[in-house]
């Protein structure tokens, strides 16, 4: 059976958005089954209107950061999510946070599933690696 890796993302800023994609895509390329669970402010990262910015005053430099990343082959955020999905990375939105933040199932990016904490913890308990990004 393939190795499993889980990540929890609790923040919605550009840096926290990119890290799980970079880690997740790499793990998928190494033959690992990847599950990324978005909760609290992370939940907006898997909605259709997403356009993550760097935190605080740094937000003004998000475009410059994005351009630099694109120059070394790292795609823009939504395209990156799509590429990860094509490589088999699984994305989940936390049910409770969706309720708290008024996010509807129809607001989620295509292919994003809804998951509760117990189901995620089951996946995590079966994983060799679990990372918290927040």
């Amino acid at each position: 059976m393939a190795d499993k890796m889980c990540m929890v993302v609790s923040e919605g800023t550009f840096d926290k958005a990119m890290m799980p994609l970079i880690m997740g895509q790499t793990a998928a390329a190494m033959g690992t089954e990847v599950h990324v669970f978005y909760t609290f402010f992370g939940t907006k990262l898997v909605t259709k209107k997403v356009n993550p910015k760097l935190p605080g005053m740094m937000r003004l430099f998000t475009g410059m950061f994005r351009n630099r990343m694109q120059k070394v082959g790292i795609p823009g955020y939504q395209e990156f999510v799509k590429q990860c999905q094509e490589m088999g990375v699984n994305f989940y939105a936390c049910t409770t946070t969706m309720g708290l933040m008024g996010v509807k199932e129809a607001d989620l990016l295509p292919g994003v599933k809804i998951l509760g904490a117990a189901a995620f913890l089951k996946l995590a308990s079966e994983s060799q690696t679990t990372l918290f990004i927040g």
Binding site: I22, Q25, T26, A28, M30, I74, M87
Partner: protein, 75 residues
């Protein structure tokens, strides 16, 4: 070093060389040798790690200035 396919990832940085490597190896046949070119210093450790995790064999490495060359035999 003898090779069947060359994959040039110069200019790309972690994790893109590994992502392109994984995709290319999927298209190749067992026993074929891929030459991977990279100028990402991270690749020095990343490529051997990828090979040992996926069971593809790293049969050689060369350095040409700042260019790293990896030779990977597809499992």
């Amino acid at each position: 070093m003898q090779k069947d396919v060359t994959l040039d990832t110069k200019g790309l940085m972690c994790p893109m060389p590994i992502v392109h490597l994984a995709k290319k190896v999927k298209e190749m046949k067992s026993g074929q040798v891929l030459e991977l070119l990279s100028d990402d210093v991270g690749a020095k450790e990343d490529v051997p790690a990828w090979c040992s995790r996926t069971g593809n064999q790293l049969v050689g490495t060369e350095t040409d200035g700042s260019i790293l060359k990896f030779y990977i035999k597809v499992k």
